[in-house]
Every structure is written in C-alpha cells, then in structure tokens.
C-alpha cells in the first residue's frame, strides 16, 4: 500500500473542526441568534481555510495516492481502524462539501426558515458538514458506514422541522428509505470482511478500503455479485438511481432551501462516491457483470428523469427530478468502467453539486419573494428581477451541459465513453444514443422552465399593476413592481456573497476543466487498476 503520511493530522482537524463550533454553540442560549450565526459562519470559514491549506499541501504529482494518511486502531475486536486519507477522487468532493457548507451558512445569515431557532439549525448544518467530510476521507468500511449514516440524522431533522407542509412524510420516507439501503450495504460490508479474511492470501482481516481493493479480486465471481448487490442497493438509493429515486422529489420539495442545496450538492454524491471508492475497485468481477444493468438503469434514469421534469408544475420539484437525470449521466459514466467514463462521472459530481445547488438556491429565493414555486403563477422574473432571472438562465444553461460551463464536462465525456466501455460494447452504444437524446430533453425542460418563469410579462398578482400594461410604461416596470410588492426585490447582498463562489466555480471549471481532471485522473486510474488498461 503506497500512501503519503505527511501532515496526517490535517484531515482530522478539517473534518472535526465544525464540531468544535458546535461545542461552543451548545453553551450559548438560543436567544442570541446573531452570535450563533457568527460562530457558525466563522467555523465554516475556518473549515474552508483548513481545506484550502490541505489543497496547498496536497502533492498533485501523486494525486493517485492517498495522502495525509492516518491509521490508528479504533474498534480492535473487529479490526476496524480509524483510517483516513485523501486522494484525487476524495479531494474535490471534500472541498465541495466544505465550500457548500460555507455558502449555505452565508445564505442562512438572513434566511433562517420558519419556525426559526437558528441555534439548532446551524448546529445541524455543522454536524452535517463533519459527517459529509468524514465520508469522503474515510478509508475504512466501518468508519465510512458510520459517517455515511451520520449524514442522515441532521438532514432528517432539517427536513422534518424546517420543511414544507408535508415535511414529516418526506423526512421519514427519506430517512427510512436510505436506512433500508444502508442496512443492505452494511450487510455487504460485513460479508466482504469475512470473505476476504477467509480467502485472502495473507489471512489478515481488515475493513481497510485500500487493503480490500488490493485483495477483493480473490473472491469468486458469484460471491462478488452478491456482495455488489448489497452495496448497489445502499449506494443506488442514495444516488438515487431509477427506480430507487422516489424519496428524492419529496425530500427536495419539502426541505428548506439550505437542506435542498446540501442534499443536491453533496449528499447525492455519497452514493456515486461509494461506487467509485468501494464497489468498483474492490469487486471487479461483479462490477463487470453488473455494468450493463447499472448502465441500463442509468439511461432509463436520464430519460425518465427528463420526462418527470416535463410533467412538473412546481419549479423545485422539477429541479429535483432533473437530479435523477443528471445522476443518471454520472452513473452511466461509472458503469463504463473506463477512465474516461469515471473521470467524467467524478467531474459530473462536482459540476452537478455546483449547478444544482445554485438552482435550488435560486428556487429558494424565488419562493421567498413570491411565496410560490408553481410555474403557472410565475412569469416575467427577468423583468421584475433581472439579475435573478439571468442567474437562473445561467444555471439552466450550465445544467443542460453548455460547453464552457462546468456541466458539459460531466456529460459529454460520459456520452463519448459509452461508445467504448469496458464490457458489453453493443449495449452501451445503444445507451450512448439514448443518453445523447437525454441532453435534448434536458434542454427542453430547462429552457421551457426558463421561458415560462423568466420571459414574458409578470403576472398580474405580482406586478401590482392594473392588467393593462401600456407598452410605454414597460421600461419602468421594475420600479413599479418594487413600489407595490416590497418583497420582490433583486438579488441581495447575502445572496451575492453565497452564490458568487458557486457561479465562479461553474465558469472556471467550465473554461479550464484541467484544474479538476488533473487531480481526478491519476486517482481514477488507480481505482481501475483491477481492470487492466481502461
């Protein structure tokens, strides 16, 4: 096992730093909202700062190796260790989670959803950050599982307490559905542990992911297929892949804006990350057998998600369904089992995080102002809030995979890679065409949404005007709108502060994707070592 152990306290600090903030906040009465916000924001900032320092210390020449590697015994009786490390696959997602938490904190400065209680809300978000970051650095299956499950709790409360009208149904469904998947995943982890220690060459028992990746190949194909099945359900529910996606629209629609953003931007990636980090490297024979099925579900998801979007009448639910389609692209890339496909999938995860996170932010802000997200009732946003409208248009363009913006790099290479997958070439060529059709549908639902919501004249109920819009007055419309509807105002300072990192990221990664590919590529090659030349 070839790892770099320098600076190995860094990841632990970066992961658990948010809990320090939580500890401080616990002892401050909940009445002092401003103080809570300040502490939470400061903690998130400090976490990002540690993250940036980590990136600075990261050896990019060795992006394929685990770095900052720490390994101490944890639960001795089952040989589970506290093993953490960071390579090119983990680094982007690790950074993404801390950045998303920061921007969500900034957004929360004046957007604490009802029924208030900033203290609890912010504490939950910090706990969430620790568990998400922990999942991305964990290199031990039990540790991974603990973090993976820990993510559920804060999100469950966020939806259940601060959510919409059907929050209880949605939060329970989210929690239990994911738990259901995780149960199978845990079973698979345990079985893997036993099987490897039984059949392993060294006879050594370990939950260490690098160790298992090196020795998982010894298992028989049938065993691998069953193990993969367990993991598949766990990860596929989280992604979510068709047909395990039905919790997602409910959870997203009911969650508060911050919850939706974190859910879309980071939590969905836990599933796809699980495939790339655990299932694919450890169980190569099973992955080959499963690949055409996963690819098939992925492309069904692409088309199906797009059709679901076309049928929606609620903007937020539409964005939620678009996640099903986008994660379909990611899964298609993963199922090709090639470097090109996996690279694109990894890029797609980050891109989807930034773009869909932004879309949920915009949806949340529109809801704040109009108190509805029903597409039929909205219209002419570009006129009342030009900046908001253009940001929405920008995100829609990024989401449909416009080259020059980040989304393209998670979509185009996936389609290309499906032409020459690791196995089942002919099947995947069909998938390739279907996925390409999916990009057309994506353009359809996103631009149609944009057309209905942003173009045209604002509807009467929000324009504050008599119905007769004299064309001559149209130019001054924004002014009039403001006079009548005080809550309909353009993008605010906190929104700018929260959004600009994401918007900047979408542009920068889109124009110069090598920033990310250079980090991901070596690690992906390592992950696919068991597959020979990808």
């Amino acid at each position: 096992m070839d790892v770099l152990r320098n600076n190995n306290a860094l990841l632990t600090i970066g992961t658990f730093l948010p809990l320090a903030g939580v500890l401080v906040m616990m002892f401050i009465p909940s009445g002092k909202e401003l103080l809570h916000k300040q502490i939470a924001l400061l903690t998130a900032l400090a976490t990002v700062a540690v993250g940036v320092y980590t990136v600075a210390k990261f050896d990019f020449g060795n992006a394929g190796k685990l770095q900052f590697y720490a390994d101490t015994s944890w639960i001795k009786v089952i040989h589970s260790n506290y093993t953490i490390g960071l390579d090119g696959i983990s680094l982007p997602l690790y950074m993404l989670s801390s950045v998303i938490t920061l921007v969500v904190m900034v957004y929360s400065w004046d957007h604490i959803p009802s029924p208030g209680n900033a203290k609890a809300f912010l504490i939950l978000m910090l706990v969430l950050q620790t568990s998400m970051a922990g999942t991305f650095v964990a290199q031990d299956l039990i540790l991974f599982f603990v973090f993976f499950e820990l993510v559920l709790l804060p999100m469950y409360f966020m939806i259940g307490v601060w959510g919409g009208e059907q929050r209880q149904y949605a939060s329970l469904k989210f929690f239990l559905y994911t738990m259901f998947g995780s149960a199978l995943m845990l079973v698979a982890f345990l079985a893997l542990y036993w099987q490897v220690s039984k059949n392993g060459l060294s006879g050594q028992a370990s939950f260490s992911i690098p160790y298992l990746a090196a020795h998982g190949g010894v298992l028989g194909k049938t065993v691998q297929i069953w193990l993969f099945a367990g993991m598949f359900v766990g990860f596929a529910v989280k992604v979510p892949m068709f047909p395990f996606h039905t919790w997602l629209p409910d959870a997203h629609t009911q969650a508060p804006t911050q919850g939706s953003v974190i859910l879309a931007a980071v939590m969905l990636k836990l599933g796809t990350y699980g495939f790339v980090r655990i299932a694919i490297p450890i169980l190569p024979a099973a992955a080959k057998a499963w690949a055409p099925w996963i690819g098939g579900l992925a492309v069904i998801g692409i088309i199906y998600g797009a059709l679901g979007c076309l049928a929606q009448t609620d903007m937020k639910r539409l964005i939620a369904f678009s996640s099903v389609a986008h994660m379909g692209f990611v899964m298609l890339g993963i199922s090709t089992l090639t470097t090109l496909g996996l690279n694109a999938a990894m890029f797609g995860m980050v891109a989807h995080g930034l773009i869909t996170g932004m879309l949920f932010f915009v949806a949340g802000s529109i809801k704040d102002r109009y108190h509805t997200l029903e597409i039929k009732r909205l219209g002419g946003i570009l006129k009342q809030m030009p900046r908001m409208g253009w940001i929405l248009g920008f995100c829609a363009m990024a989401s449909l995979g416009l080259p020059g913006l980040a989304g393209f790099w998670g979509e185009f290479p996936v389609i290309v890679s499906a032409y020459q997958p690791f196995t089942n070439t002919n099947v995947f060529r069909v998938y390739m065409v279907v996925a390409a059709v999916g990009t057309v549908l994506a353009a359809g639902y996103l631009l149609w949404l944009f057309q209905r919501v942003a173009f045209g004249e604002p509807p009467e109920e929000f324009s504050g005007h008599a119905p007769a819009h004299s064309v001559g007055a149209a130019a001054n419309d924004t002014l009039h709108g403001d006079e009548i509807h005080h809550d309909i105002h353009d993008v605010k300072l906190t929104e700018w502060l929260a959004w600009s990192p994401l918007l900047l990221g979408i542009v920068v990664l889109g124009i110069y994707p090598q920033l990310l590919f250079k980090v991901i590529d070596p690690a992906v090659q390592v992950a696919l070592k068991a597959y020979g030349k990808g």
Partner: protein
Amino acid sequence: MLAAETGWFLEHAYLIPVVPAVAFALIIFFGKRMPMKGSEIGVASMVTSLVLAAGTAYQWIERVDFFSPAGDNASALGGFGRAFRLNAEGATFVQPVINKIVWWQSGGMEFGLGQHIDGLAVMALLLVALISTLVQIYSLEYLRGDRRYTHFFAALTLFSAGMLAMVLAENMVQLILGWEIMGLCSFMLIGHWWEDAANSRSALKAFFTVRVGDIGLLVGTGVVFFAASAYATRHGSNGFSIQSINEWALSGTGSHTVLLWGSVALFIAAIGKSAQFPLHTWLPDAMAGPTPVSSLLHSSTMVVAGVFLVARLYPLFHTGLDINVAGQHFNLIAVIGGITIIIAAALAFVQNDIKKVLAYSTVSQLGYMMMGLGVGAWTPAMFHLFTHAFFKCCLFLCAGSVSHSGSHHSFDMKKDMGGLARKMPITTTCWILSTAALCGVPYFSGFFSKDEIIDNARNNNYQVFFVVGLVGAFMTTAYMTRATYLIFFGKARGAAAGGHAETLATADAHDSHARVPAMANAASDSHDAHDAHDAHAGPHESPVLITGPLVVLASLAVVAGYINAPVWPFHTERFAEWVANSSGVAFPILDHAQFEWVNAVPSIMLVLGGFVVSLFVCRSIYGEARSPLRGITTRVAPLRWVHTFLVNKYYLDALYENVIVRGLVGPIANGAYWVNQNVLDRIVNQAGIGARKTGGWVYRNIDQRVVDGAVNGSGAVTRGSGTALRPVQSGKVNQYGALLFGAAAIGALVLVIVNT
C-alpha cells in the same frame, strides 16, 4: 516536412476569438457604465479581431506563396481544375499552424485547446470578423435606444467569439464549444424581445431544434474519437484532433462502417445547425430577433457552421459517404442539400415577410453549399460560403434599412412597402446589386461560386443534382424578383405610402414591439432626427451608420468573386490557391471542373428566364392593371392546394410542434410521471405497509415484546426529534420502521446465501 514559414499573427491567431470573448465579459460587467453603454467595447473588440484576422490572412498568403512555385502555371490550370495531392505523392501542400495547450486529460492522455490555422480557417476567420464588425456598426444605429442595448451587444460579441473559436478549433471538443456557444447566443438574440411570447417561443424552438441535431454531434464525435484513436495515438495526437481525424480517414486504416456511421452522425448535426431539410423549420422563426442578428446569423455565423463542419472534416465525409466513387450518383449530403434547395426556394414564393423570404433563400443557398460538398465540389462550396456571406448579409441589412426608415418598422412586403426605390436610392442600389449576386448574374460574385457548384455536379457525374441546381437557380431569380418588385417598385402601400397607424398591430412586425418603448425613452438620447421621423417624416434614406455597412457589403458582393474568376479577362484562381490548396496535409483528391462558357449557358438562360417570368407574373398579380392571373391561387383548385401546402410549410411545423413536442410534453411525460407516483412510489409505500402488516402479525403471534419495543423505539426517536414536530402520524412511523426491519431481514438472508 516542409520548413515552416510563419509569423506572429499566424502563431497567435487564437487571440482572434479570445478578444471578443473577453469583451463579452467586460460588456456584461461594465457595459452599462460606459458612455455608449458597452457598444464601444463590442465594436472595438470586433475591429481588433478583424485586424488580427487580416494579419493572419496576410501571413497565411505569404506562407502559401512561399511554398507554391510562384504561381507560374496558374492560368494553365483554369477554373477549379487544380488537383489536390497528398504529401506522399510529392505535390505541394502547406502545413497548418497548430498551437495548443492542455485543456483536459483522461487516462493520462492529454487533450488540447488551441488553433488549427489553415486556408479554410483563415478564410472563415476573416469573413466572420469582417461581417461581425459591419453588423455591429450597423447595430449602433439600428438598435439605438433599445431597452437591452447593452445585452444585445454582449450577446452579439459572444456570438462572434463562438463562431471564431469554432472555425479555428484544433479539435472536436473545441469545435463543439464554439458550436454550442453560438446556440446559446442565438437563443439570447432571437429571444431578445422576450416580453412577447412569440419571440421567446422562437428562441426556444431554434435552440431546441439545433439541439436535436446535436445528438449527432455528440455521438459522431464519440464514434470518431475511438475509431481514430489508435491511428492518432501512433502519430502523437488523439482522436479529437481534427487533423488526426482527417489523416486517419484518408489513411485507409479505418473500417468503412465506422467511417460511414461517424459521418452520418456528424452530418445530422450539420443538418440541424445549417437548417437543412428536415430540420430547417427553426430558421424562419428565428427572424423574431432584431434584423442585425438575422443578418449575422444567416451570413457568416451559426447556419454556416454546419456546412463548415462538413468542410472541415471533409476527408471523413468523403471517404465515409463514398463521394466521387465511380458509379455513385447519390449520397446523403448531396440528397439533403438538393432537397433543401428546392423546398426552401418554393417556400420563399409564398412569404409576405421580407425577412422570411431571405430566410428561406438562405436555407436554399445553404442547400447549394451542402450539395456542392456532396458532389465533391469542395472549393466551389467554400467559395459560395464566402461570397454568400457578403450578399446575404447585405440583403438582410437592406431589409433592416427599409423597415428602419421606409416602412415604419414593418417587414410586410405586401402591406407596407412598394415604390421605395425613389425614396431610398442607396438601399435600393445595394439591394439590387446583392440580388444580382445572389441570382448568379454573370460577373457578379454569386456567378463565380454558385455556377461552379452546378457545373461540378455535371462534371462529377451527378446528373440529378445538376438539374436540381439549375432549377434552384431559376427559382432563386424568380422569388428574388418578386421580393424586389414588391419592396421597391410598383405602388407604395401602407407605411411606405406614409400611413402607418395600423402597422404596429401586425403580427409580423417583430421589431415594432420593442421599439415603441424605446421611442418613449429616446428623448434622453441625442437622436432628434429619429424622433422626428417617427413623427411622420415618411419614407426616407437611412443614416450613414446604416448605409455605410450596406455600401461596403454591396461592393464586396460585386467584387468578391474576382478572387476566383476563371473567366475572361481575369483568369484568377486565388481562392483555390490560398484556401483549398492549403487545407492541411490530408485532403482527398478532388477533380474540379474547368470553367467553360458553354457549360454556364443553361444556368444563365434560366436566370434570365426566371427574371422575365417572375417580373411578368408579379406585374400581373401585384401591379395596377387588371389581369387574369390575379387571384389565381384562390380560383384554380390545384394551385390553391399547392399554395395552401406551401403556406403551411409542408405541415412540418405542425408535425413537430403539435405531434412530437406536444406528445412528449403531454401524454408521454405525464404518463411517465403517473407511473412514478402510482407504480414506483406505491411499491415503496406498499412495501412499507406490507412490512408493517408482517410486523403486526409477528407482533400478535410470535414475539410481542421485541417488535413492540422496536416500533415504539422508532416512534420515540421521531418524537424526540424536536419540539416543533407535531405528534407523529404513528401509522407512517410504524410502516417505515417495519420497512427497516424488513430490509434488515432481507439483508440477513443475503448474508446467509453468500456465506454458504
């Protein structure tokens, strides 16, 4: 390998798209604070690009001349009769100038971003930069006072940047980048006045239709990437590189099936972008945008991108579709091009909107270019692309000029025009010169390009397409004569006659909608003349910012052809030498026809015939005298049917919009969603209920305490979840709690199976 004769401009040609791209960002962020609202940044960037492009072209010509044997035997070759030879065969060729940086990587393989400068790229760069500059200058006046003036210039600048980035693309991914950026900008510009639902619908339609074609682009790029990969890697490149793809296609190492599918897929993209049949329907709707946009879109950017793609990867198409193989009289490109020529020209006859006539004319001319490529007439097709840009851009800008100053923002030829020739002499002259060029009147630029396409179809044994080309020439002349007659001659009608009260309400007068509020604001502008004219000055000539570009373009429409005029007394073939002879190392061997007057006679006769017949019919139908031809399309049944069929655009729009799109958005999407809610989600809920029932059964019959405790436990967790949670719907909790345990049970089962 020949020694490189190069220079600063050639090495730094990548700056040509970078300048407007940066300018776009500047306009977006600072445009509104500039004295001219950002338009000065746009114009300045385009002028800079033009200078850079001119420098590049100059150095490229130097490079070509350096390698060619001093053009000594140029006249002896005659026409397009120059053969292209591969390097291996010892003939001269000019190495392209390729520079790139690493853009992305995968599997350790690095993919570039950069420039591929050869004759074709240089020609297109110069063309795009020139046309863009003129259009931006024209827009300064035309869009003055528009409510989104800054946005307009930003989008226009980005549009040019996209096209420029595409034409010098080093690889397919970069080509897609430019390609899609143009799609985005066309969306923004066509929907520029998005307050009107019709405009935003047109914008959506344009983007969406092109996107349908893009399926082919994505798939084709993938196919070709892997197919060319082995060859390319051996030569130190990758399967996205355009030069590698071309070399591979000619190397004979690729399987013909793959070449065929790759080229078919890519051609589908070209169909969408270049508005070829059957994806041409978006282009006429795209007229909803401001006229300068139509002009730019139709002359040198966007729609020619598809033609350019085919030309750029010509070796691939040439090999894949068996172009010029003996005994092959048809291929996909020629067929689509040929069909497009005829059907689009036919539609141009029934349009009342001047811009729509020109739109269908563009579709038809693009058909010529495609057909030319399809019959192996690469150089004439590219030359037609070159000359067409000038006269089509000029025609659109003339149309804009007419609506700006002559017909009070109306584009309806029948209602608001007529007799404008005397009122607008400059515009009229420019229009007529450009029309002559478009029709292919001898010694105008279109003659040297379009006739060569027709002639080469004959020469290369594509008899059917030779006839199609001739028929197209006849139709072109006829519909352009009709339009010219309606606009500039005959009796003045509607706004052209001075009255314009009704025109604002006409549906076709796109520009009018947004211009009215613009007028309301115009007081702050130093634009009194405009206001004055709006207050009933009647038709008059346009100001110099509009006529200036017109004059430049009309002059070019006349003289551009002489770059490659193989006729007495010129005998030049510079275009063939500079552009075609130097399109990279790899190029198929083409046999171009020698120009001879005798071969040009049929088309000249038909052009003349088209003019005479059309003039006669127009005078009868639209003129003042009574005539039996008047109203013939309503009286004679077969003619009425044809007329209705044409007016309804072959019912293709109805098929696409009412059947396919509505079907998709309506029943199919709703059906899928119904399945989602009532099948998939129900399974989840039923699983929960089922598990709960099982749990209940276990509870009652087997082990009361364990299940009881667990369900309560899960309920307790939920209850403890926060004071804000109302008493939990216990049914749901139990249901899902049971589901969890059901899951664990299944898991245990798996465990057992695996371990045995």
